[in-house]
């Protein structure tokens, strides 16, 4: 099966189709999905392989194993020495890296377009042939523990965020940090990583995304050569994830840490995902209207310009996940305003927005900017590749990914206000205060 889709081929008042970039989607016989984004501006390509497995698929007592495995994938295979993968990428003038989320794990290289075959050869090799000796996995476990120390435990905002998510999700593994809990990370080892790898890494659980100075036909030919021979894993079964029970009780928490520079209030709500296109689009427009501009958005105007209670405030929607989306709001008050008063002001700003409705001029400007963002997005080859990788990983179809701007364009002001009602029901939310210990004692 083969689809030709002109990416963002939507009628734009400002230009013709000369700048449309061709996106093509197909599948190898072994089940591996392929997306090719042609962008001929420079002789460069991005090569990405995404696995539909992440931290939300980990066995109990092994939090962090998906991310640990991502690190270990740079160790040796039966044919590559430890570290050789990156060394070969470098020797070819490329850069490589990888990332882990709850729903997916991705590996990518940026190289000259004529090195694409070599990248596929190596990526295909480590899809099934990873070898892990103790002298490889043991120091790498110290690396991830140091990573947790550096990027989480040294930053109170990140520790707070872990606590918020753990409170928001009562059952689902989105409440467990991707990097893992330290006490469980300390027990991970090569055998556990290997077992996770065997269970989840296979062509029928993978998506290849290539963007850049390439043609669809040449990518497919290379993909058949390098990935084609890897047999599908017939035992591949998606990990059954615990789902959320009904949320009937609002949760609240407070964290104090002497390293907090600016205290703030944060609230997270469970929300629909992008799989519910219409709802998701309304929530995205709501986030843009409430918090999308540091000057003209509703919360900034009310809380900063009019009332002067906020240093900053935010509203974000994230729906690019498999099971649950999230809407988050928050406020960092100016000095002299308590977190309690700041939270009340934030809630009142949202309530009055729901009473008063959407300012039609602001609504038009937001729509105009979304349209323009399509054009700016074409400048970012890697960002576009990532958009397809995330979308397919979480189970969206290519038309759903590409129809997003149209879906946003179809949202009406009434739908935005309707969507805002989500924020009035705090039963599926958690509210947190991040603050310093009693300041009189500290200062």
């Amino acid at each position: 099966m083969r689809f030709f889709l002109a990416a963002f081929g939507l009628a734009m008042a400002m230009s013709g189709a000369a700048w449309a970039q061709t996106v093509t989607h197909d599948r190898l016989d072994n089940g591996m999905e392929v997306v090719v984004i042609e962008d001929r501006r420079a002789p460069v390509a991005v090569h990405m392989v995404w696995y539909r497995v992440g931290a939300a698929d980990e066995p109990t007592l092994q939090s962090g194993i998906a991310h640990y495995l991502e690190h270990l994938m740079f160790k040796g295979t039966d044919e590559l020495e430890p570290g050789e993968f990156s060394a070969v990428v470098e020797a070819n003038g490329g850069r490589d890296n990888a990332f882990t989320s709850w729903d997916y794990t991705g590996y990518f290289q940026r190289v000259a377009a004529d090195r694409l075959g070599l990248m596929m050869q190596m990526e295909a090799d480590r899809m099934t042939d990873l070898t892990l000796s103790e002298e490889e996995w043991r120091p790498e476990r110290d690396v991830i523990l140091n990573e947790r120390g550096q990027v989480v435990e040294s930053q109170p905002g990140r520790v707070f965020n872990e606590a918020m998510l753990a409170a928001l999700y009562k059952a689902h593994p989105y409440g467990t940090p991707i990097i893992g809990w330290r006490h469980e990370m300390e027990t991970l080892d090569g055998d556990k990583a290997k077992a996770f790898y065997r269970q989840h890494y296979a062509p029928n659980n993978a998506i290849l995304v290539v963007a850049g100075d390439v043609s669809f036909d040449e990518v497919m030919e290379l993909a058949r050569t390098h990935y084609g021979p890897i047999p599908a894993n017939p035992d591949l079964a998606p990990q059954q994830r615990p789902m959320e029970p009904p949320h009937l009780a609002e949760r609240r928490l407070t964290m104090e840490d002497a390293r907090v520079g600016t205290p703030y209030v944060s609230r997270m709500y469970l929300a629909p995902t992008r799989h519910d296109t219409e709802q998701a689009a309304a929530l995205q427009m709501l986030a843009a209207i409430l918090g999308g501009s540091p000057t003209t958005s509703v919360l900034e105007r009310k809380l900063n310009f009019e009332q002067g209670v906020a240093l900053s405030e935010w509203a974000n929607y994230s729906g690019m996940s498999r099971d649950y989306g999230m809407f988050s709001i928050g406020i960092a008050p100016v000095e002299g305003v308590s977190l309690e008063d700041a939270e009340a002001a934030l809630d009142e700003a949202i309530a009055s927005f729901i009473r008063d409705g959407v300012d039609p001029e602001q609504f038009d400007r937001v729509r105009h900017q979304i349209r323009a963002s399509e054009i700016y997005a074409l400048d970012d080859m890697q960002g576009r590749a990532r958009q397809y990788g995330v979308g397919l990983s979480i189970g969206l179809s290519v038309p759903e990914i590409e129809g997003w701007i149209d879906a946003l364009d179809a949202v009406t002001p009434d739908q935005v206000v309707e969507a805002a009602n989500l924020l009035l029901d705090r039963r599926s939310s958690v509210t947190g205060y991040l603050t310093r210990p009693d300041t009189e004692v500290v200062n």
């Binding site: 400002m14 230009s15 700048w19 001929r40 501006r41 420079a42 002789p43 460069v44 044919e79 590559l80 430890p82 570290g83 060394a87 070969v88 470098e90 020797a91 070819n92 003038g93 490329g94 850069r95 940026r110 190289v111 000259a112 070599l118 050869q121 190596m122 043991r138 120091p139 790498e140 110290d142 690396v143 523990l145 140091n146 120390g149 550096q150 435990e153 040294s154 002497a258 390293r259 907090v260 520079g261 600016t262 501009s293 000057t295 003209t296 105007r301 002067g308 240093l311 900053s312 000095e335 400007r365 105009h368 900017q369 349209r371 323009a372 054009i375 700016y376 400048d379 080859m381 890697q382």
Partner: protein
């Protein structure tokens, strides 16, 4: 089997990609010089401006003035207050950002081809007629003070500041570019007006443009952009000599890890050895896997999540610095390993194989930087700021390839000074004397 073929490829990789960037020099009627890279496939234009000077121009009595001034450039200009200016920007779907650093004030703008003249006119208003309204000033000042208070509790910021103070006593480079909570709290509107007049001037600007426009169309637009920008700004301070003594500075800070900043004197950007030093540093500390520091500290021993070293060659002075975080218990071992690496570089230098590998990497990776209008406009402005010739893009890989092992090791002897290393440790380190 595959192993063999990979090794073969490893050795055979030769002709790296050329950076296929066609730069057009543009001189406008009023005498502005710009570098343009035309790219007509997407209907927007990116413009980057770099003004030399930056926070080094702040008077001692007004630290943070340039940073606060830059943060206020999109908070009201001409007839428009902050709201009106933001609305005008949104109606054009233009994107403006203003930033002040230690050495520069920089402006990045992206706008659609169809509204280029309107976007340029709006940006001109921001550059020439900022209002610094009292309400905007207080709003942004409060945000900046809060951000500085966060920095004061952030071990990385604390380490950077302590290192700069040790390195450049008495020079503006020793001062925090954004000031302190106290200095910013005391800034007046007059300080901002002075900072604006001192930093935004034609005699110190470098202009890079990329996107959907040709030279003939661009030239008058640039003249319109600079209409009313004064010819000259404030005099730029003199050179900063690196003066940190060897040794260890401890800054107590509670947390599971220590941040370690280390370094000694560096190599100026216009030094004939700079390119060679750049190549050697990429082998040692280039912030990737496979560098000597990453191999020793992370891959072999798991002592850190990441470590890098960099030639901090600024506009007025230079140093050679490295940075990492490690568990408090491991700090003593980390420092010994770093010293040992420095010793090895002096006595043994780098190897022929390391040099060959890094050349292939650097020459191959160079074209990858030019990925998109936004990136290219920034590179065009930055190359001029750094004093490169317009044909540098085409000869840069030849310069890298020309570095010999003898040159690399002579420069390693000059660059690495194990006995001069100054360490700043922010945390509760163990195992150091």
């Amino acid at each position: 089997m595959m192993m063999r073929s990979l090794v073969a490829l490893f050795l055979l990789v030769a002709a790296p990609l050329r950076a296929e960037v066609d730069i057009t020099p543009v001189t406008t009627q009023s005498g502005l010089d710009a570098w343009l890279v035309e790219e007509r496939s997407i209907p927007f234009i990116a413009v980057d401006l770099i003004f030399e000077g930056g926070a080094t121009l702040d008077p001692e009595s007004a630290l943070g003035a340039t940073a606060l001034m830059a943060a206020l450039l999109n908070e009201g200009a001409g007839e428009m207050d902050a709201q009106s200016f933001a609305i005008a920007t949104e109606e054009l779907a233009a994107r403006f950002s203003f930033d002040a650093g230690r050495d520069t004030v920089s402006v990045s703008a992206q706008f659609l081809t169809e509204s280029a003249p309107e976007a340029i006119a709006l940006l001109n208003t921001a550059l020439t007629q900022p209002r610094f309204d009292a309400d905007a000033l207080e709003r942004v000042r409060a945000q900046m003070v809060a951000s500085l208070r966060r920095d004061a509790l952030d071990p990385n910021s604390i380490a950077s500041r302590a290192f700069a103070e040790a390195a450049y006593p008495g020079h503006p480079y020793a001062r925090p570019s954004e000031g302190t909570p106290e200095s910013v709290a005391a800034l007046t509107r007059d300080d901002l007006i002075a900072a604006h007049q001192g930093t935004i001037a034609r005699d110190r600007v470098h202009i890079g443009v990329a996107g959907d426009i040709d030279a003939a169309t661009l030239a008058p637009l640039l003249d319109a952009l600079f209409e009313g920008v004064p010819e000259a700004g404030a005099p730029i301070p003199g050179r900063a000599e690196f003066a940190a003594e060897p040794g260890i500075t401890r800054v107590p800070f509670e947390g599971p890890q220590s941040v370690i900043a280390f370094g000694h004197r560096g190599i100026p950007r216009d030094d004939p050895d700079f390119t060679t030093a750049f190549v050697v540093n990429e082998i040692v500390g280039g912030g990737r896997f496979g560098t000597r520091l990453m191999s020793e500290l992370r891959e072999e021993r798991g002592l850190t999540y990441g470590v890098g070293a960099f030639l901090a060659s600024g506009f007025l002075g230079e140093s050679y610095q490295g940075r990492l975080s490690a568990s408090n218990a491991d700090v003593g071992q980390v420092i010994e390993l770093i010293r040992a690496e420095w010793e090895k570089l002096v006595t043994d230098g780098v190897t022929e194989e390391e040099l060959a590998r890094i050349k292939t990497y650097l020459t191959g990776a160079y074209p990858l930087r030019f990925d998109g209008n936004g990136a290219i406009a920034g590179i065009m402005a930055s190359m001029q700021f750094q004093g490169f010739d317009i044909d540098y893009v085409n000869i840069r890989n030849d310069l890298i390839d020309a570095v010999t092992l003898e040159e690399a090791n002579a420069v390693a002897q000059r660059l690495y000074q194990p006995d001069a290393l100054r360490f700043v440790i922010v945390g509760q380190p163990e195992g150091i004397n």
